[in-house]
């Protein structure tokens, strides 16, 4: 077909060539997650916790806290501990809830709206769709963790000041090193949440009800917490998804205690791989009747 004919008859012969690498769909996915008001509200709740902690500690005397590393009592000595205390408080429920909401919505939400069939007919290859969805979940997990840490660190520095940081092992390190340790903590927590995100993505391929997928993913996380708290089941504990989550406190020792960190990362990687494979196996052969 000549160029002239191509111009008069706009058939697909002059379709632009396939772009092997395109980040447009991924960016569109991020826009969908971070442009949605529901998710702003969720992130506002996540960001409110460090503010509440900082203000509460400022106006009252600190008391020893419950589970997890005890950061509350250290807050008055260094503002960075607001970030760590907030992460410790939000890791059991709020952060898993936020990740479950995003991951549960990933495929089931599109199926529920019917937009899934539009995307697949574009065409978006099913494997690519899952990859983009999961990448966006990981970005959200990192962003949610970083948001809490950033708000906590800022509020803490404003109310309690910075300076050298006394680590949990009693060693004092410069403020810069302390900041690096906080970033490591965020990375570790994000990796744990990304594993939960893989579980959520798998559940999301099973249903057309995003709320159902979210609740099921959250129940998975909470059941893990409950089982982890039953000493008689100690043989099971290393295999639970949340067993090593609170080990992030080990990153605040000098030297860093890796006895739980490495197994924690290994567990997260195993959960991620297994559930991504399951999601792919399920989604690549599923009939899209929504």
């Amino acid at each position: 077909m000549s160029a002239v004919e191509a111009a008069t008859h706009p058939t697909a012969a002059n379709l632009p060539a396939l772009r092997r690498i395109s980040t447009r769909f991924f960016r569109s996915e991020l826009l969908l997650i971070f442009g949605r008001r529901r998710n702003w509200a969720g992130m506002a709740v996540l960001a409110a916790v460090p503010l509440i902690i900082a203000i509460a500690v400022k106006v009252t005397a600190p008391r020893p806290g419950g589970g997890g590393p005890d950061f509350l009592s250290s807050i008055t000595s260094n503002g960075l501990f607001v970030a760590l205390a907030a992460l410790a408080v939000e890791l059991p429920l709020f952060l898993p809830l936020a990740v479950s909401a995003i991951a549960g919505d990933a495929v089931a939400g599109e199926a529920n709206l019917g937009t899934l069939r539009n995307l697949l007919a574009v065409p978006v290859h099913r494997t690519r769709l899952l990859a983009v969805k999961y990448a966006a979940i990981v970005v959200f997990a990192v962003a949610a963790t970083a948001l809490i840490a950033a708000v906590g660190a800022l509020a803490g520095l404003v109310l309690f000041g910075g300076g050298p940081l006394t680590l949990l092992s009693g060693v004092q390190v410069p403020f810069g090193t302390g900041l690096v340790r906080l970033v490591l903590v965020c990375g570790y927590i994000a990796a744990c949440l990304a594993a939960l995100g893989a579980v959520g993505l798998f559940v999301s391929t099973l249903t057309e009800q995003p709320i159902g997928a979210t609740i099921a993913t959250l129940i998975f996380a909470i059941t893990s917490h409950i089982l982890d708290a039953i000493p008689q089941l100690d043989w099971l504990h290393p295999y639970l998804i949340s067993h090593y989550w609170m080990a992030f406190g080990d990153l605040l020792r000098s030297p860093i205690a890796t006895t739980s960190i490495w197994p924690g990362l290994g567990s997260a990687a195993a959960y991620t791989l297994i559930f991504l494979a399951a999601a792919w196996a399920r989604f690549s052969s599923r009939d899209i009747t929504s």
Partner: protein
């Protein structure tokens, strides 16, 4: 412009679609079957043949398996057995290549409710690796313009009426040049004006060289804009032909109204007419080619009846319309309103 006055005739629109597969049928299926897990057979061994350049009416009552067939064509649903080809590419292996040249609208519009119409199209375009990001904004506005939604482009989808939603879905199909459009009930939910506009649009797209496969339960839609038709009935393809052929196959009958039908029967029999039926005072018979035009045509029967002393009150030649043809194929009526 009214669509009904300018039907697209198959012979007068010889536009081969672009690409090296131009001479392959746009859609071809071989014994395509879908049996759901419930055991229900939604589609039962159909052999579709949608010629390139045609406007193919995929006609059938609701629940006859049209949407399931379209979902199988697009790879959304895996067939239980059978194969199919799109634009000459065997599926599902050729899905990436074939689907990029196909615009599809499956079972009503579906978009993100809290995004604007334009943002929804932007998302669809972003997902398409064949789409050039530099021309994205221009193509989106052009598509919105073409379906008359440009003024409402900034509105959230949730505020759209059903008609606007249907148009947005069509705009999504028009983001790229297409060789084949697979449209599932594209006029569903539109008012008469919107229906006319969409049919005009489809006719224009077909004239520009695209093959159109249009699923519908409206016979009038097929009569107005289609060149070919395939009729679905309880999961089976009961007929498939160019519309002109179906019309030609419809056999004309003479109809004589008389107080003495038995006399009329004698006269008709003398001329060699067959399948003579008497119902009260009405006699009908297959005209066939026994009374050809060169012998005076059906008019000759009138004078013969009068000469034979048959008291004739009424006389006519009745050609069954397409609805009668389809009713005879499916044993059911079609919704012909709209």
């Amino acid at each position: 412009m009214t669509v009904s006055s300018t039907p697209v005739a198959p012979a007068s629109q010889p536009h081969p679609p672009g690409g090296r597969h131009g001479h392959d049928p746009a859609v071809r299926t071989f014994g395509l079957t879908k049996r759901f897990r419930s055991g229900q057979v939604a589609v039962d061994g159909i052999d579709l043949d949608v010629p390139a350049g045609s406007v193919y009416g995929f006609l059938g009552p609701n629940g006859s398996g049209k949407t399931t067939t379209i979902r199988m064509l697009l790879g959304l649903v895996g067939p239980t057995s059978g194969q199919h080809e799109l634009l000459g590419h065997p599926m599902p292996a050729g899905a990436g290549t074939a689907l990029a040249r196909i615009g599809a609208l499956v079972e009503g519009p579906a978009f993100h409710p809290y995004l604007s119409g334009r943002a929804n199209l932007r998302r669809l375009d972003a997902a398409d690796r064949h789409a050039d990001p530099r021309t994205s904004a221009a193509r989106i506005d052009e598509a919105l313009e073409r379906v008359g939604l440009l003024a409402a482009a900034q509105k959230r989808y949730r505020a759209y009426s059903l008609g606007m939603r249907q148009r947005l879905a069509l705009a999504g199909v028009l983001l790229q040049p297409r060789d084949l459009l697979i449209l599932d009930e594209p006029t569903n939910g539109l008012d008469p004006q919107g229906t006319r506009e969409v049919r005009t649009l489809i006719t224009e797209l077909a004239r520009d060289g695209a093959t159109v496969m249009l699923s519908t339960h409206l016979l009038s839609e097929v009569e107005q804009i289609c060149t070919h038709v395939g009729v679905m009935h309880v999961g089976r393809l009961v007929a498939q032909a160019p519309l002109t052929q179906l019309r030609a196959d419809a056999t004309a009958r003479v109809r004589v109204e008389s107080r003495q039908p038995s006399l009329a029967v004698e006269t008709l029999r003398r001329f060699g007419l067959t399948e003579i039926l008497v119902e009260g005072e009405i006699v009908t018979a297959v005209l066939g080619d026994v009374v050809a035009d060169r012998d005076g045509g059906p008019e000759k029967l009138i004078s013969a009846l009068v000469e034979d002393g048959v008291p004739v009150r009424g006389f006519g030649v009745v050609t069954p319309d397409l609805e009668d043809v389809f009713v005879s194929l499916t044993g059911e009526g079609f919704d012909v309103s709209g």
